[in-house]
Symmetry: C2
DNA sequence: AGGAAACAAGACAGCGCTATCATTGTCAAC
DNA sequence: GTTGACAATGATAGCGCTGTCTTGTTTCCT
């Protein structure tokens, strides 16, 4: 007797036989119940429940040449900023028919390109990519794929398709303007991992200082990945070079927290001796002693909006605006109040 | 003329035609090149490159009734602990043929069960689940699936299949023993989100106090999700109830950091007036002023080991030991040095 | 030289589903 | 009564790949 290759699972035909209809009717009933008569639908639903039928997604994908996968490609899973965005994505995807698949570039453009290729080969329903600095090849792949794409984290000119984020340059500028208004004049920029977003924040820092006609030669950066410890080191190095600095604009909150701890270690009073401003407004900024000024960004909402834009585009009713700017809020706290 | 349903992509047969062999030979060449002659292999490789052939994973999955998907199901993407584990998983999975698919339970057993069902219906190569507190139905599903499964985060009796983690009870006990050795006697437990792992840490806390014959009625907990701010609140509530407390064992580092900030706010000297010990040893613990004692857990290695165990099990050579205990290290720092 | 064993490659069918076209029955409009 | 529109359902043929079996070819041993 010929050995069957069947997986042992309940198939559409089994359901069809149990419900007394043909397989195709079951298929239709499950995809769009309005196309099937009430009686048949009821019998099919019973049969599905009785037999414990679970559709085979591979067969669905092969036959229909599409999937319900939304791919999200982010640089890091451990960075709090991206994990918040991811949380927003998960929240929004719940209750939709879509399933999330995650890719992790580790901040390299090449890995991003590889991931885009891998994801596209699976014919995803939509794709979420981070930032606006894709390689030309990646942009081309995405543009010609026919798959809806959302770029998140940042706004900028020339979106691949859809976009949701904010201007890092304007946000940094607003933060530094806040420091200037608070009376600080020798304001340094502390930054790690000078990725493109960081570079644009540096531009915003320069914009603000330029407008206020302030000497700007107070930039401490390192290519190393950001961390709280590194924030302390950066402040230490800065103070060694320029002991007269009176405030630091930190490229992110980890660095700001590290700077605070370093200041405490050196008995530098914050905010009177040193003003500290971070970026992103992670949860601990409010809890710190003194509480730390930061720039609030809308990360959960960014993830949620990305999914909403994508869902609409997939379903054919594209939103009027391709680019959604969620803005930011400078959130002054004790660390810059003097 | 009949309209073709073809996806427009290059298929195996296209490659086969270009290489002058049959489709099945190309399939074999791509899966195990040793089964094909050198000449044919070279021609096939050329054809693949020339045509830009990308396999259709849905067709592969349907025909072979298996995939190269490893599913990972974790409670939260924003919790640093899990994101570190996830990073370890991604690191280890690179260079293997497997692809990661992530599920997010948000700390609910029901969602976990749903995700396990969804993942299993895709016939994954292996599955990673978090903790040892799966529902009986989930355990049964996993056990009968035939899919290799690793439970991560914790060790315990009766593994579903494979297991890698450590004993939270012993780790908490060791931390509290450290506090006792440092001379603290009125030691409180601060905990948020009393999930099963937290409960077992509480047991460890009680073990240590019981052994030292110390009164243990100093437990402050809340069902709310953990955060730095909450750590401050918990310490505040504790001090209102028991101003004579001399040390806190915090269920995680966020709470420990919040407790430190709250102590600073109240001008309570750490470690002389209050000892603080956290759990997990996140990066900022070392950077804090004073640096914070914690229990180091091997999160990256946990993720990596999970993938290794799984890969071995998938390939048929199961490891000798089903359960890998990665242990922990109490890491004493300034916050408990008196 | 003869035959077993090992190797290389192909034929064929089918995995479980959906696109497409065809068929049937019902009912309102003329 | 005929017609056409529409709703409900079915038959058929794949989607692109791999499992299984078969056929041909080479190698090596006795």
């Amino acid at each position: 007797m010929k050995k069957s290759r069947r997986s042992g699972k309940v198939t559409l035909s089994d359901v069809a036989a149990a419900a007394g209809v043909s397989a195709i009717t079951v298929s239709r009933a499950l995809r769009d119940s309005s196309t099937v008569s009430e009686g048949a639908l009821a019998r099919i639903e019973r049969a599905v429940a009785d037999l414990g039928y679970v559709p085979n997604v591979a067969a669905q994908a092969l036959a229909s040449n599409r999937t319900n996968i939304i791919g999200a490609i982010i640089p890091s899973v451990t960075n709090n900023v991206f994990s918040d965005v991811l949380k927003g994505i998960y929240n929004a995807i719940e209750g939709t028919p879509y399933q999330l698949q995650l890719g992790n570039t580790r901040y390299t453009v090449l890995e991003e390109e590889r991931l885009v290729r891998t994801f596209l080969s699976q014919r995803p329903a939509g794709l979420i990519v981070s930032g606006i600095d894709q390689s030309p090849a990646t942009r081309e792949l995405l543009k010609t794929s026919g798959v809806p794409v959302v770029q998140i984290m940042e706004t900028g000119p020339d979106p691949i398709d859809l976009m949701v984020g904010f201007s890092h340059r304007l946000a940094a500028r607003a933060a530094v303007e806040h420091l200037i208004e608070a009376g600080y004049r020798r304001i340094a920029f502390l930054g790690a991992r000078m990725d493109p977003r960081t570079q644009r924040r540096l531009l915003g820092y320069r914009d603000a200082l330029g407008d206020a006609k302030i000497d700007e030669d107070l930039i401490m950066t390192t290519p190393r990945p950001s961390s709280v410890i590194l924030g302390g080191h950066l402040l230490g190095d800065l103070l060694a070079r320029r002991p007269d600095v009176d405030a630091v604009f930190c490229n992110n909150d980890d660095i700001a927290l590290g700077a605070l701890f370093e200041a405490q270690r050196r008995n530098i009073a914050v905010p009177s001796g040193l003003g500290i401003c971070g970026f992103n407004d992670l949860e601990y900024m409010e809890a710190a002693t003194p509480s730390l000024t930061s720039v609030r960004t809308h990360r959960l909402q960014m993830g949620a909006t990305a999914v909403e834009l994508l869902a609409r585009a997939i379903e054919g009713n594209r939103p009027e605006a391709d680019v959604v700017d969620l803005g930011f809020d400078v959130t002054p706290r004790e660390s810059t109040r003097r």
